[in-house]
Symmetry: C2
Subunit: 417 residues, 2 copies
Amino acid sequence: MSIGAATNGAAGLPVPSHNTQAAATATTSPYQHIADFISNVGKFKIIESTLREGEQFANAFFDTETKIKIATALSEFGVDYIELTSPCASPASRADCEAICKLGLKAKILTHTRCTLEDAKTACDCGVDGVDVVIGTSSFLREHSHGKDMAAITKQALEVVNYIKSRGVEVRFSSEDSFRSKAVDNAGVHRVGIADTVGCASPRQVYDLVRTLRGVVKCDIECHFHDDTSCAVANAYSALEAGATHIDTSVLGIGERNGIAPLGAFLARMIVAAPEYVKRKYDLHRLKDIENIVAEAVHINVPFNNPVTGFCAFTHKAGIHSKAILNSPSTYEIINPEDFGMSRYVHFAHRLTGWNSIKSRVEQLGLHMTDAQVKLLTTKIKAMADVRPLAIDDADSIIRAFHLDLQERDTTKIWEN
Amino acid sequence: MSIGAATNGAAGLPVPSHNTQAAATATTSPYQHIADFISNVGKFKIIESTLREGEQFANAFFDTETKIKIATALSEFGVDYIELTSPCASPASRADCEAICKLGLKAKILTHTRCTLEDAKTACDCGVDGVDVVIGTSSFLREHSHGKDMAAITKQALEVVNYIKSRGVEVRFSSEDSFRSKAVDNAGVHRVGIADTVGCASPRQVYDLVRTLRGVVKCDIECHFHDDTSCAVANAYSALEAGATHIDTSVLGIGERNGIAPLGAFLARMIVAAPEYVKRKYDLHRLKDIENIVAEAVHINVPFNNPVTGFCAFTHKAGIHSKAILNSPSTYEIINPEDFGMSRYVHFAHRLTGWNSIKSRVEQLGLHMTDAQVKLLTTKIKAMADVRPLAIDDADSIIRAFHLDLQERDTTKIWEN
């Protein structure tokens, strides 16, 4: 019945799952799960688009060396695909695309092009493993951007799809804002892509839409979610629940405007739902390094509240939280920081602290006190912290001074509990 | 059928709505909406918890002056409730709570206390409009934190609820990790609260849970979502769709670990679904100032990718995007930046640029060129930008030099289209 810590870790969560144990688990819950046979939550693939969508980020200018560094790091991390800017965008874009294809990375290399034969030929000539062709089909875009009607769009799409297939290259067809994808599915594309290009979709809409599409096409389904209204990760998750197979991410979410589903945040979501799959497939300890490479390349700071790697992602402060965390971390943590090579931190030097936090710090410092002594010490620390911010050093000094005082008085038993 | 720009602005989105027009709209869509009579998407209330949850943020130390500044700004912004740290946390917390209650703000003042008569009495004595009592009821917390069994929890809850009601003060009862709320609903609480304290809930879970609760209790339903797996805003939205009435936010999302649903991101989500309600009720132009006040107070930067106020939230870069945006902003923007006092920016000085972006810049600079001239200029700018990052000044210099060159050659008609 509860959301959160009432169940013992990720395995017991009432997340819709293709796992056959889900039905048994659900009987202990006051609401019934819909058995979710279409879910790909436990077998998704990542199309990492830092070098395509990410290049559309306001600050992004990736030189060849940086692109190779990022592509190599992403491949070692374990992403399934790396998507690159169209080789038709500029001469350097083409040269970089060719260079990355020649690296022989484990990840498949995709490029993203407009839906024209000329672009498709250029892409195939670069040696990519797959081409993501994109064309906008919404009435808005028909009117305001490329001005083509639907029949012409379909004809052009089929020509391009057939050409790429004839080159023995994987092909995805994506209409930017809708999914009239049946024709290209019949033509044998490997994937169709759907995109929330303006970032306005909500999770229940996405679930309904993808579930419908799942019944229409046989091929894989790739989803691309912008984050303008902070739903990109939730939408990606809902899409996988509804049968999508591939999710587009970028490191720290960089892309047009405020970007798309971030690689790290997406994996934070997924590790809760499919811990073994995520831990087996991705080298999660590399996440922080990859984020730092990209943050440096585009001159941004990792957001203070970034999931997993943000400076406070595993910092516990309130007394009641800290007490429970010290007894059993999963009470207030759904992600184990160690899975990502991170560590937990219980913040104890502030006015909301509790004596359990102080006791833990006393023990970390290798000191010994009775509970009554720790409670008295806690009162002193709270009183200090109520007046001004306390650094850890300040709090440690108070603890050590109190302990020294205890030892001196110990001979006279004044402080004995 | 489409997600995103296929419909004409926010009003036409296939968002589940309590609006009776929803059914009519749905008939034009290939998938059917469930008419959503329980949705509160268009009539939600905000419980702003920067001064309670936010005080549990690692960096937070709010002195009295800062608390008053934040509370005043939030009230002027239009939030319905402001929640404060328990007056029992420390002497300064109590003094600050009393001081804020005496300000006579338009927003109602709440405080958040443990579920004990002593705390409830202290809270009422401070002059608050409402008390949010909280007790953890999950089996994990029963074992690892306060060690009480369910019968004792219920008895204690009812005593505290009845006491607060007897003081004429609004009362919300919240169990941290579940919602065994029927007993307190019967006892006449104003709201029950449910919380995803560890940040692991997914939107479809939330929807099912809240919809169930909506059928169980008569009172209002408040929801509190942590953002560990980047679903806080999406979960808040799903909760409102399912009949929740109140959402907890904090400015920039500050709180325990990486925090809760951020005020700005939540309103970005809501303005898409209920534009008139949001614009009428909240003074959105104040958002950026409030974020800056809080960011400064807790020594953080506004994340680069913050919805609405992040530096690139309305920056358009790729050629195809910029072209459409220049023709019709809603093609690639679901939020009107002007609603928040922000402005749009089309980034034109990079290798992915298109001639429409350059043409727009040429016009912004008050220069005149033919389309053919702009296309030639665009080639030159793309070539420069392919080699190194271009600042706007650099690009403007190229544009002006090109224009000057044109004027000089104009006499000999060499450049004429």
